[in-house]
């Protein structure tokens, strides 16, 4: 093994196709992980606001259902594997539930009738406010 380190040319000669495949797959794996994990956009937390108050901030790195009481009733917010969403809402239109999963920092879902908002927080905020 030490021989290989001392003479890199020897190493390259001795490698078999399987070795090359392993190296290639590892590189692809590293590249993929770098792409998906090494970005500022990836959100780490979800901030829940009720009315004009910050209700709580939760890590996205968990499986959890949060029951919150808004202006018109009880809503359920689901956290799962780096994502968060409105799972249930007492509002008629269900726009908030239809927003679906949020996974990137800066993404937000708002339930106007129930006055509850979700915002994903990350290392860097991509913008100060959203023009929706």
């Amino acid at each position: 093994m030490l021989n290989f380190l001392r003479y890199p040319k020897l190493l390259i000669k001795e490698l078999l196709i399987g070795d090359w495949l392993i190296i290639l797959l590892s590189l692809v794996g590293i590249f993929y992980l770098f792409q998906t994990l090494w970005t500022n956009e990836h959100a780490a937390k979800v901030q829940i606001r009720i009315g004009d108050k910050i209700y709580a901030t939760y890590s996205l790195n968990q499986q959890r259902e949060i029951h919150v009481h808004g202006k018109i009733g009880d809503a359920v917010i689901r956290i799962s594997q780096g994502k968060a969403r409105f799972a249930k809402s007492p509002c008629n239109t269900q726009y908030c539930v239809h927003q679906g999963w949020l996974s990137h920092a800066g993404q937000a879902a708002i339930c106007l009738p129930n006055q509850i908002s979700l915002e994903l927080l990350g290392d860097a905020k991509p913008y100060d406010s959203l023009n929706y």
């Binding site: 239109t93 106007l112 406010s129 023009n131």
Partner: protein, 352 residues
């Protein structure tokens, strides 16, 4: 080394103690988001609360259909009741009179596509409610209301005395009030010598100064996904507004009916998903940037594709984005230089 540590700790300190105050509240039936930079937390909170109080008062004054309290309509509600009764002049506040004069001029400029006089049409479609559920489309009523042609120019304003020559005029300032409120807030903050703030009323945003060293950044919402489609820097005094079919709408037989109604047909515009306009600061004694950011997106939204450019130019607006019902994105050439797409490889067409 000591200097390095000192500057590092200063840098870190400034990161954690950034003088940014941020609040969210619900006024105008929507989310109001206020950021103030460079003031103490205590002062910023007082300023923000003052702005929110102003907004609530404005909301009560200009609300088209909700009583302020039991059996008591707001100023606009009372005026609408008077319009329905006939031509007897009603005395209104100088502030409301100025709003009506301005809104009438903007309506004429938009060839009547921005038309705050079609309140009856809007309520026929069920959009003058807190929540929007499908309505039985009353084609006869819609036809009658279109035929009656309620227009801003039907309103006669003499000083503070106002009447309408057309009893079908019912004012709904839903496409004006939020922008107007932005201008009020910006004026108030200037008066209080606050240099840096960002105010967002349900997606209409105005910027004062900067966020520290950098300009304020805003995201433009994707009309069909819970994410921003693009971001841009909003310079001092500039305002941005979006009209979309995704915040107030209902679905009926697989078709989307949004709150933006074409006064010519009486039906919701269905060929557009969203329109964003970016407005530079305006000269004093003219319609201000906040109002324009609210108003100008509507005629562009309603207008046919070939006339969108003309609708924007009528207001001197050079920066805008249209996303049509096929999700095709059109960006004006000026706007293209200002935005950053959030995802790479976004397909779009450039408008001249």
């Amino acid at each position: 080394m000591r200097y390095l540590l000192l500057s590092l700790s200063l840098l870190l300190g400034s990161c954690f103690n950034e003088p940014l105050y941020h609040s969210q509240s619900y006024v105008f039936g929507t989310l109001v988001d206020i950021s103030i930079y460079g003031e103490t937390d205590e002062r910023a909170r007082l300023l923000a609360n003052h702005i929110l109080e102003d907004f609530q008062n404005l909301h009560n004054q200009l609300h088209a259909w909700k009583p302020v309290s039991e059996n008591k309509l707001g100023e606009l509600g009372q005026l609408n009741a008077a319009f329905q009764e006939g031509k007897k002049p009603t005395t209104i506040s100088p502030e409301l009179a100025a709003i009506l004069v301005d809104a009438a001029a903007l309506s004429v400029k938009s060839n009547g596509l921005f038309n705050p006089a079609i309140g009856h049409l809007i309520s026929t479609w069920g959009f003058q409610r807190d929540e929007f559920t499908p309505v039985e489309v009353d084609n006869a009523a819609i036809k009658n209301l279109v035929h009656a042609q309620p227009r801003m120019t039907d309103i006669v304003i003499k000083g503070n005395a106002v009447y309408s020559t057309n009893p079908t005029v019912k004012l709904d300032l839903g496409g004006y009030a939020k922008g107007y409120a932005l201008d009020i807030a910006a004026n108030y903050l200037h008066k209080e010598h606050v240099n840096n703030a960002l105010i967002n009323i349900g997606g209409n945003i105005i910027a004062l100064g900067k966020h520290g060293e950098n300009p304020w950044r805003v995201g433009i919402q994707h009309p069909r996904a819970p994410t921003a489609i693009a971001t841009l820097a909003l310079p001092d005094g500039w305002a941005i507004g979006t009209s979309g079919d995704y915040q107030r709408y209902f679905m009926l037989n697989g078709k989307r009916y949004c709150h933006i109604i074409d006064p010519r047909t009486g039906y919701p515009a269905q060929h557009t998903q969203s329109v964003t306009v970016l407005v530079p600061p305006q000269p004093p004694n003219q319609t201000q940037a906040g109002v324009l950011s609210d108003v100008v997106s509507k005629p562009i939204f309603i207008e046919t594709p070939v006339n969108r450019n003309a609708a924007a130019q009528a207001f001197g607006i050079k920066n805008f984005i249209v996303i049509d019902d096929q999700s095709t994105i059109f960006v004006s050439s000026n706007m293209l230089k200002k935005i950053h797409w959030v995802e790479s490889g976004v397909k779009f067409s450039t408008l001249p």
